[in-house]
């Protein structure tokens, strides 16, 4: 009964989505307030029904109702409660429902936080979001009903894919989806602006916090996904350039470009049509990512069950949403007009440069991801594009981005003196190169990659310090406290996020150059050495879990006489699917991780053990956290609230008049 209720609620949600898509749009074009006002309750009602439907599905999982096909395929009576709940989205249907739910959540957020925006504009935004929601809900109902019954019910389920039974997977998909889908708000703002022809600094200011928050979610989601891959896949890699990872990375790159482009549009009114194009593209790539993951067009390690009918449906959805948006863009964008002029040496130029570079980087990822498909389609053979391609494209593209990223903030808007700006940062720049070279020598690993990476990191750190000092000394005379208070949250956000990029680069560079790895055959009491650490094998015993059997090894790690850690990697066999799994054990430290995973047992009773030494790897995620926090600061800037309040009074006055 409950699954049927959930199904029915989903149908009601679709009806409300259609109402939300059509009625406010008509209201906006005819200027009828009553019709426009339908948008908010429709969106909120839709969220209620989707939430209800989602709760019903979760109920089926928690109750182990294996007459629901999805629960039978992705849960098991012995699965821990936490993974019963997360199992809801560890599959095609459930994850699409989660997609629809986060879209609806964003829409509700728009209805709540848009009280100060003009009614017609909000009506159009809600209308656009309604259309997107209509597309996804009908996709769910037509091709991927999550409440499909399995009659007669099976006695027990197949269990969730063991790879997904992990704490990291509890929060990774919701965050990632909130990020992905969050760009739909920026997209809806852009389309609404194209429809109304009103695309100005105010529009950019409204879009900015939404874009930034979506970007924060996406950053967090990607970072957690990468952390999960690091400790769960059992060989210590943290990024694989896998199609599914690329699918989330492309919108991230464009979203980053969009945030910065919006800043220029807000401050200077420039780059309008470019900003709109970025908003459309960032969301398009989110949709494309969904297509890649769900259609099975491109194979990847994230193998969900695939179905060509579903692929066709998403492709049609993609063509309609993106095609119509780009057509609208081609029609309306030429009329937008340029903004404030700027000279070649100005903050605008540096931001534009980075925007172009980020877009090119995104395009090169897209090309690398799709190229195997192109060749296959043209009958030119089967190929795969691996990490070497992406690395050899990315390093040259990102190097100027990082240099410009720290140089731009030293430039003034509109026009600046190049010689003066260069004089300001030249010592820091030279020092960075020297530090890069020196550090590479110090760690005894002089390769061009190491030197480049360390120099870039040093440049980010030094330029950040210089920037902060410059900002504090700007207002000479005032008390220190007053000076610090005069710095806005948005500025701190920018500063912290950029510094985070530097920390990230340190992690990537050092783990890339200095990591060490050895595979050894070990028996009780045997030792292995790696990077100054001694690993002693203390045997293997059974450590069965609720839904798996496991063999757990005990390995003592010492350095000289000092005990460092006792690691307990496991080899598990998940019973329901008969699927073996490697569970790594890691000693995490601020400057290095020691990572051990258990291979198979061989005939003479000894075990294959993989040992990894990963210097500075946690800095990768520390950098991501700093970037994310920077985004939080930027979005929380008081300015938005103050301006919102002022606009509310203006709008109210207009309404009265």
């Amino acid at each position: 009964m409950i699954p049927e209720l959930g199904h029915f609620a989903l149908v009601l949600a679709l009806v409300l989505a259609l109402v939300q898509a059509i009625v406010p749009m008509i209201g906006a074009s005819r200027n009828r307030l009553a019709l426009m006002a339908v948008g908010r309750p429709a969106a909120q009602g839709q969220f209620f029904f989707i939430l209800f439907s989602y709760a019903c599905l979760t109920w089926a999982f928690i109750q182990s109702d294996f007459s629901v096909q999805l629960a039978a395929a992705n849960s098991h009576s012995a699965t821990p409660l936490m993974y019963k709940i997360t199992g809801v989205w560890g599959n095609h249907e459930g994850s699409l429902l989660l997609w629809a739910m986060s879209l609806s959540l964003w829409t509700v957020a728009v209805t709540v936080f848009s009280r100060n925006l003009p009614d017609a504009f909000v009506a159009r935004v809600l209308g656009v979001l309604g259309w997107v929601s209509t597309g996804f809900l009908s996709f769910l109902l037509v091709t991927s009903n999550p409440f499909e019954r399995l009659l007669p019910a099976v006695p027990d389920g197949r269990d969730l894919n063991p790879l997904l039974q992990d704490p990291g997977m509890i929060i990774h998909p919701p965050l990632l989806y909130m990020g992905y889908v969050g760009f739909s708000v920026a997209f809806a703002f852009a389309i609404a602006a194209l429809l109304s022809g009103r695309l100005d600094a105010a529009w950019a200011r409204w879009s900015r916090p939404w874009t930034t928050v979506a970007w924060v979610f996406l950053t967090a989601g990607i970072a957690i996904g990468s952390g999960w891959a690091y400790y769960e896949l059992g060989w210590g890699g943290w990024w694989f350039w896998d199609p599914v990872e690329n699918a989330s990375f492309m919108p991230w790159l464009l979203g980053t470009a969009l945030m910065h482009s919006l800043a220029v549009t807000e401050k200077r009114g420039a780059f309008r049509s470019w900003t709109v194009l970025l908003a459309i593209s960032a969301f398009s790539l989110s949709l494309l990512g969904t297509f890649i993951v769900r259609s099975g067009v491109i194979t990847s390690v994230h193998a969900f069950a695939t179905d060509p009918k579903r692929g066709l449906f998403i492709l049609a959805l993609l063509v309609i949403v993106i095609g119509v948006s780009l057509l609208l863009y081609a029609w309306r964008a030429p009329k937008l007009g340029g903004g404030g002029s700027f000279s070649l040496v100005s903050r605008e130029t540096s931001l534009l440069g980075n925007n172009v570079l980020l877009s090119v980087a995104s395009a090169s990822v897209l090309l690398g991801t799709m190229y195997p498909l192109f060749l296959d389609a043209l009958g030119m053979g089967k190929i795969s594009v691996g990490p070497p391609y992406f690395e050899s494209v990315f390093i040259p593209l990102m190097t100027p981005v990082v240099v410009l990223m720290m140089f731009g903030p030293f430039l003034r808007w509109k026009d600046d003196d190049l010689a003066k700006a260069v004089r300001k940062v030249a010592p820091a720049f030279v020092a960075s190169v020297l530090i890069g070279l020196g550090t590479a020598y110090a760690v005894d690993h002089v390769s061009w990659r190491t030197v480049l990476g360390l120099s870039l990191a040093a440049w980010v750190v030094l330029a950040s310090i210089l920037l902060l000092v410059g900002r504090i000394t700007e207002r000479a005379g005032a008390a220190m406290g007053a000076r610090l208070r005069s710095i806005t949250a948005a500025w701190w956000g920018m500063w912290l996020a950029h510094l985070g990029v530097g920390v990230f680069i340190i992690g990537v560079t050092l783990v890339g150059s200095l990591e060490a790895h050895v595979d050894v055959k070990m028996q009780n009491g045997q030792h292995a050495e790696l990077a100054g650490y001694t690993f002693t094998f203390r045997g293997v015993r059974d450590a069965d879990g609720p839904n798996y059997d496991a063999a757990r090894a005990t390995i003592d790690v010492t350095r000289g006489e000092r005990a460092i850690a006792t690691l307990t990697p496991e080899k598990r066999l998940y019973l329901a699917q008969g699927m073996p799994m490697t569970e790594a054990s890691i000693d995490i430290g601020p400057f290095r991780d020691v990572y051990v995973s258990l291979g198979e047992q061989i005939e003479d009773g000894s075990w294959i053990v993989s040992i990894y030494y990963k210097p500075f790897i946690s800095w990768i995620w520390l950098g991501c956290i700093m970037m994310g926090l920077g985004g939080v600061f930027a979005a929380a800037d008081r300015r938005y609230r103050r301006l919102a309040a002022r606009e509310a009074t203006v709008a109210a006055n207009q309404r009265v008049a």
Binding site: A72, A73, L150, L151, P152, V154, R158, S273, L277, I280, S281, S284, F291, S295, G296, V297, I298, T299, T306, P308, G311, L312, L315, L318, V319, I322, G323, L326, L327, Y329, A330, W331, A333, P334, M370, L373, F374, D376, A377, L573, A576, Q577, G578, M579, P580
Partner: protein, 197 residues
Amino acid sequence: MKAKFLVPLLLFFALAGFLAFGLTLNPREVPSPLIDKPAPAFSLARLDDPARPFALEEMKGQVWLLNVWASWCVACRQEHPVLVRMAQQKLVPVVGLNYKEVRGDGAINARGMALEAETALAIERAQRWLDDHGDPYVLSVLDIDGRVGIDFGVYGVPETFLIDGEGRIRYKHIGPITPESLQQVIMPKIEEVRRAG
């Protein structure tokens, strides 16, 4: 409308074209080269009576399904209720090809196991599985080493072959049979073959 603003749209359409083509390349939809060819001949021990071999010719004159299954195969468990219902409704005779019952199971180390022991274990496991889940098959045969499976081009379990009265393979279904695929694809195919025969 200025031409340069159309560039993104055109680029997108080119991409969408490739994606549409990519969908037609779905690896699971690759037709079997054996379609409309005589099924590879085989003679294998029956599960219910291992001393008695079963050969393809015995089904001559009937339209029937050869369903490849194993107790370790997870997706088989999913399609099994569908097969059981088919048997209850007497839609079409289904012969089970039990594929690598022992050595296909990742949880068992079958290396070095004598063939007799492996066969005995396979019979025990397969029979228990059918007792637990219901036996929809007119009979099952044991493909211990998977050689017949290779002849049939099996590359994943479950797979199902539709064989006509003259012993030709007329259709191959990859993956579990679902109520939809049964109704929309397999039954119509069976009707078509029956009419033609």
